[in-house]
Amino acid sequence: MRNITYAQAIQEAMSEEMRADERIVFFGEDIGVYGGAFGVSKGMYEEFGEQRILDTPISELAITGCAAGAAMTGLRPIVEIMFSDFITLAMEQLANQAAKNRFQFGGQASVPMVLRTPGGSGTGAAAQHSQSLEAWVAHVPGLKVVIPSTPYDAKGLLKSAIWDDNPVVFIEQKLLYRSKGEVPEPDEPYSIPLGTADVKRAGTDVSVITYGRMVPRCLEAAESLESQGVDVEVLDIRTLVPLDRKSIIDSARKTGKVLVVHEACQTGGFGGEIVSTVVDSDAFYYLDAPVKRLGGLDVPIPYNPNLEAQVVPTIERITETIHALL
């Protein structure tokens, strides 16, 4: 094991699979010569060349439609949308074509593409470059949705996404790109199946169910609560679609108290689905407090950094909400 960054882990996953299979191609805005807006694909253009690493014009719709078509005709494309906010522009190809084609052709076609895109706030990039839109795509049947929280998970999940025959929306976390974590050596291949949650911290008093950037934040909150004698479990769902409902139910049943945390706006957020999963199961009978959600405020992400920091769940609010459950 060695410590590498989240961004490096993603790059390794892509490069290792591209070396192994030439059907894998990668395109997006400034991903080639420039190495990507967040430097994820640095050096890949030099290694794989312009035939497989394509810099595209600024049209998310075209990039995504191109990937869907390439996937249906034999390639396994990876595309990068520079900011997840611009999925909105790609939505027609993503929701109406990529997600539907396998079903509408009766299974005769498949769309093995991965749409990688960074989401989340915290970089001072303001309202149009800071959103968390995972609930938009999770609501479209046919799309798989992955949000890794560690370098290890990012590499393992991206490999599974590349080899999945369905379109996978792989939402990376801007603020985690530079975070480091243990990842096996390149000659130790591994992958993480989609649809498996991970207990990042086992505990008995409260289950905090979360994903993405909020995972390290919830772990920090759990650490601070440990000194107060509160044993918090942190469950990272890792993939929204498919959702590992069993792990959610098991954890809720175990602790009887559930807090769901995500950065995305609370109203209509994916947390509602997690809460429903809990209360609609036999874990209901083990609930010993109302199931709580803690999402972002229902406002566009402000440019002002002080306000920006306050619109998403903070460690203080996470800790307070856990206290309210006890």
Partner: protein, 427 residues
């Protein structure tokens, strides 16, 4: 379709009006333009005219009620017509002073982060607390909540469960006894059911003995305390007897029971063994020449022993008929004192219950008691061959002061003789 008479809106600012009095009753037939009520608006009192005709089906408010403008206050239509459903909610407003508690808005809930959950009526409890309460048979009503909003948590139920056993908790709930105020005798003051005041009446039902049961009990206690009694069991092969009885009954139309034959055999055997038909008085055994045969009979009031007097000189039919009458009288409660006294020996038949042997207790001052047990179909060796035979057990208890085991066995053998070889009765 019924038509509504509504609270009129007589001015732009009018929001509600008061029904001062009704001028019609339910069931009245009214015409368009009839005065149906006197109402008070924000400015004046006025008469309300109906703008429809028909039968007054329902007055939705009592006089004195305040009603929002344009809300229906009465329905007019054909008799028997169904009134639209809205009137039900409206009618709940009949008593104007009754105000429903204001529901807490979701916004309030969200803002406070917790519900104000205590209050009258249903107890606020988490699903886990309700499940635990169900499992522990504890009523939520007697649990002290510790939740931040006053709700009952699972830990509160478990704490309550620790303070009392499930049985004690259930009994306390049924009896309206407070567990908290009951001193527990268990570890950490845990309340057991026996700690509850008046717990006996909860765990038990007390049934007084009938006079017969009391007297029987006293006699049986005295008997077993004072008489050195021994019980001997014997199996009788009654195969041919059973066949003979069946043949006799079918040929002659009798309904002679096994018991009748046993009583007959016992009456004869007792005549042959006078010490079994005796009374011990001091150092003397008084043998009676009369065989007064008692037959233990279960009745609703208790065990009765009607006595068949002079059985030694009765024939089988006579024993059967007389015994039948006595048993009926015992069950009906019409036995005379004379019919229950002066017994010299008792027979107790439990064969109909499938009992194969038992230890009857002597009915003092008698010398013995014979128990008749069930007739079973059992394999028996007959001349080295295994055969299916009808086997009846008899259990004889005797007073060892009056006779010893060998003598008692001879008495049993006499009975055996009569029942195994019925023809011996002719000898």
């Amino acid at each position: 379709m019924p038509e509504a008479i509504i609270m009129p809106k007589t001015g732009m600012a009018m929001e509600e009006g008061v029904i001062i009095s009704w001028k019609v009753q339910e069931g009245d037939v009214i015409q368009k333009g009839d005065i149906v009520a006197e109402i008070e608006t924000d400015k004046t009192a006025m008469e309300l005219e109906s703008d429809c005709a028909g039968t007054v089906l329902k007055l939705l408010y009592q006089a004195g009620s305040t009603v929002p403008v344009t809300a229906p206050i009465a329905w007019v239509g054909e008799p028997g017509e169904k009134i639209p459903d809205t009137h039900r909610q409206e009618s709940e407003k009949i008593t104007p002073e009754t105000k429903a508690p204001e529901p807490q808005s979701p916004a309030q809930f969200a803002q406070e982060g917790k519900s104000s959950v205590s209050g009258p009526g249903k107890r606020a409890a988490t699903p886990a607390a309700r499940r635990a309460a169900g499992e522990q048979h504890i009523s939520l009503d007697r649990i002290t909540p510790s939740g931040q909003g006053g709700e009952i948590r699972e830990r509160d139920v478990l704490a309550a469960a620790r303070s009392a056993t499930p049985l004690a908790a259930r009994m306390a709930e049924e009896q309206g006894i407070s567990i908290e105020e009951t001193a527990g005798s268990g570890h950490g003051g845990k309340v057991f059911s026996s700690d509850l005041p008046g717990s006996e009446s909860i765990r038990e039902t007390r049934i007084p003995l009938t006079n017969i049961q009391r007297i029987t009990g006293e006699r049986m206690s005295e008997s077993i305390r004072t008489i050195p009694m021994v019980t001997q069991h014997m199996d009788l092969d009654v195969t041919s007897f059973m066949e003979g009885r069946k043949e006799l009954n079918s040929r002659r139309g009798y309904k002679l029971t096994i018991n009748d034959f046993v009583l007959f055999a016992v009456s004869r055997a007792l005549a042959e063994h006078p010490r079994m038909n005796s009374v011990l008085e001091g150092n003397e055994v008084i043998c009676r020449h009369e065989v007064n045969l008692g037959a233990a009979t279960a009745t609703k009031r208790g065990l009765l022993v009607p006595v068949l007097k002079g059985a030694q000189s009765m024939g089988l039919l006579q024993i059967s008929q007389r015994m039948k009458k006595l048993a009926e009288a015992a069950r009906d409660g019409t036995l005379t004192a004379d019919e229950m006294s002066e017994g010299t020996f008792t027979v107790s038949n439990v064969g109909m219950f499938g009992i194969t042997s038992f230890t009857p207790i002597i009915n003092p001052p008698e010398a013995g008691i014979l128990g008749i047990c069930a007739v079973q179909q059992l394999p028996r060796f007959m001349n080295n061959e295994l055969k299916q035979r009808s086997i009846m057990g008899i259990s004889l208890t005797f007073d060892h002061r009056i006779m010893d085991g060998a003598e008692a066995a001879e008495f049993m053998q006499s009975i055996q003789g009569y029942l195994e070889v019925p023809l011996s009765a002719f000898i």
